[in-house]
């Protein structure tokens, strides 16, 4: 569904991606693991059109999206919940969700999307008129995911959704990601929390300083000694 082929990307002179190829199959959850600074967020930036690849191709449903402006990529159905959540602190919860529906043309169905989001995250319904900046970290992450869902994504990109959250909340969030996927949304998950991410994923990639070094079925990656050592605390 979403394909990257030999993607190179630079920040000025910094060569951040050095020939990345990966595939996200329709209906699956694919995880991208990697240490700080490996280039995970950069891959998402290239997919969403914020950073242009210097070479290589990015295709979605068999057409080239590498030249599209970020807002066009969203209209194509690729939507992300960015790193560090980045909710709009001075908008209310409901207004944040409204911005999420920004590119939607099917105005009539937007109402039912709120319902879907509130079904996944009942707390957001309770807090709907509260300023998003006053939510707890976990609630903000839920809002960031909910906001992305409002755009009715075909592929949902999640950049470290577990970052800085208590283990119990992380568990909840991963469960909901699984549910979202079960309802038909393809998920591309960027994580450092390898254990939990692999537990819900079908396929996984490991990125090291701009290159994919390991890939395979999530269940196999979990057993890979190299990955075990680097990302799973060496047990």
């Amino acid at each position: 569904m979403l394909n990257l082929e030999g993607v190179h990307a630079y920040y000025g002179y910094i060569h951040a991606l050095k020939g990345v190829s990966l595939k996200v199959e329709e209906g699956s959850i694919v995880t991208l693991l990697g240490a700080n600074g490996a280039g995970k967020t950069t891959i998402l930036k290239v997919i969403s059109g914020v950073l242009k690849a210097s070479s290589g191709s990015v295709t979605f449903l068999d057409h080239d999206i590498s030249k599209l402006a970020p807002e066009k990529v969203v209209s194509e159905g690729i939507v992300q919940a960015p790193e560090g959540r980045q909710i709009f602190p001075e908008l209310t919860v409901i207004e944040n969700l409204q911005v999420g529906a920004y590119t939607r043309r099917d105005k009539k169905n937007i109402k039912s999307s709120y319902q879907i989001v509130f079904d996944y995250f009942p707390i957001l319904k309770e807090r709907q008129d509260q300023l998003a900046g006053t939510l707890s970290g976990g609630e903000q992450q839920m809002l960031a995911i909910g906001r992305a869902l409002m755009a009715k994504p075909k592929v949902l990109l999640l950049d470290e959704p577990s970052l800085g959250l208590a283990p119990l909340i992380v568990k909840d969030i991963f469960k909901i990601i699984q549910e979202i996927n079960a309802q038909g949304t393809t998920v591309f998950l960027v994580e450092q929390n390898a254990n939990q991410a692999l537990a819900i994923s079908d396929y996984a990639y490991v990125l090291e300083t701009g290159k994919i070094t390991v890939e395979g079925k999530a269940s196999e990656i979990k057993e890979d000694p190299k990955v075990l050592q680097a990302y799973l605390g060496g047990h």
């Binding site: 969403s48 914020v50 402006a69 970020p70 807002e71 969203v74 209209s75 939507v79 992300q80 919940a81 960015p82 980045q86 909710i87 709009f88 602190p89 001075e90 908008l91 209310t92 207004e95 409204q98 911005v99 999420g100 920004y102 590119t103 807090r127 008129d129 509260q130 300023l131 006053t134 939510l135 960031a144 906001r147 992305a148 755009a151």
Partner: protein, 340 residues
């Protein structure tokens, strides 16, 4: 009853009531000139608030757009003898086009860099006002006539006040509906997080241009109205002091509120006048400017949401106090943003 709750209806009624005050009371001409100035600065402040308060883009050069509006109005009605209303619209539209260019600059620069660039823009345009004598008549300045609308000459301040109020009302309503719409939310989203706004499909290109264009349009209209009220202008009027006053208006009045922009304009125009009447303070050179500076610091420190929201701020503080007494800790903070 429901109609009265509608913000647009409230604005309209208020505008008409205030517009009639000078006709009913006997107010001297110089006071009415000040009131007219409040309207004019309210217009530019609303535009500037769209830029700073809603879109989160700084400009320290917006005096240039107002000056441009003034000179365009003078030239179009004076030299080209265009009708006043047409010339007024053009004195908004031409700066708007130049505002678009500044918007393009803002796509590449952020924060401090944008502040510096716009400051440079303001200084450069003021220099153009000084040098381009065919357009501005340099330091000798240009004059303009009383406005004539459909054959009626407006020479009394009372009547100019009504004219100004109608234009202010139209621009308030335009801003109100613009900001309430999807556009308003997109601007706020861009202000809060450019990255996330983009991730949601908001085009930074489009909305930065909209914000700069709208604010330049409002500034140009304000300039055109100023020109026909004071009927004289020269380059020194359009410098950094005005750009900074503009910043003070929206910060003191309240960022991202229309009402706050008007309150802020009233504050900045009227306060120096009050100071003038106090002999001891009037003897201190530039006291008004010093006072404005301190007022801005004071407001930022104690009422960061501006004068327009002091009421809401106090209400929330009291509510929080009661909540924390009733049950310690529980319950989210109430919404601290008043609409408007």
């Amino acid at each position: 009853m429901n109609l009265l709750k509608n913000k647009a209806v409230q604005y309209t009624i208020l505008a008409f009531v205030v517009a009639l005050i000078p006709l009913l009371l006997d107010i001297n001409r110089s006071t009415l000139t000040l009131w007219n100035m409040v309207i004019i600065y309210a217009i530019i402040a609303i535009g500037f608030n769209i830029l700073l308060g809603y879109a989160g883009q700084i400009s320290l050069g917006h005096a240039a757009f107002m000056g441009l509006g003034a000179y365009i109005a003078a030239n179009l009605t004076g030299n080209l003898e265009l009708p006043f209303l047409l010339s007024l619209v053009l004195s908004g539209l031409i700066p708007m086009v130049i505002g678009l260019i500044l918007g393009l600059v803002a796509l590449r620069l952020e924060g401090h860099y944008l502040a510096i660039a716009t400051l440079g823009f303001g200084v450069a345009i003021q220099q153009v006002f000084k040098e381009w004598t065919a357009f501005t008549n340099g330091f000798s300045g240009v004059r303009a006539d009383n406005p004539v609308i459909f054959g009626l000459e407006i020479s009394e301040r009372e009547h100019y006040f009504i004219l100004g109020m109608i234009i202010l009302l139209l621009l308030v309503l335009f801003a109100h509906y613009l900001l309430k719409s999807k556009t308003g939310r997109a601007l706020l989203a861009m202000r809060d997080s450019e990255h996330a706004a983009q991730a949601m499909g908001v085009s930074l290109f489009k909305y930065k241009l909209i914000a700069f264009a709208a604010s330049a349009f409002y500034a140009g209209i304000a300039g055109g109205l100023f020109m026909h009220l004071i009927r004289f202008t020269e380059p020194n009027a359009w410098g950094i002091t005005l750009s900074l006053n503009l910043l003070a208006m929206v910060v003191i009045g309240g960022l991202a509120t229309i009402g706050g922009s008007i309150i802020g304009a009233g504050f900045i125009v009227m306060v120096p006048e009050f100071i003038k009447d106090i002999e001891f303070l009037a003897s201190i050179k530039s006291f008004a400017t010093i006072f404005t500076g301190f007022a801005m610091i004071f407001v930022i420190m104690f009422f960061p949401h501006g004068i327009a929201r002091i009421g809401t701020q106090i209400k929330i503080a009291l509510l929080n106090r009661r909540n924390s007494r009733v049950d310690k800790g529980k319950g989210g903070a109430p919404n601290g943003r008043s609409k408007g």
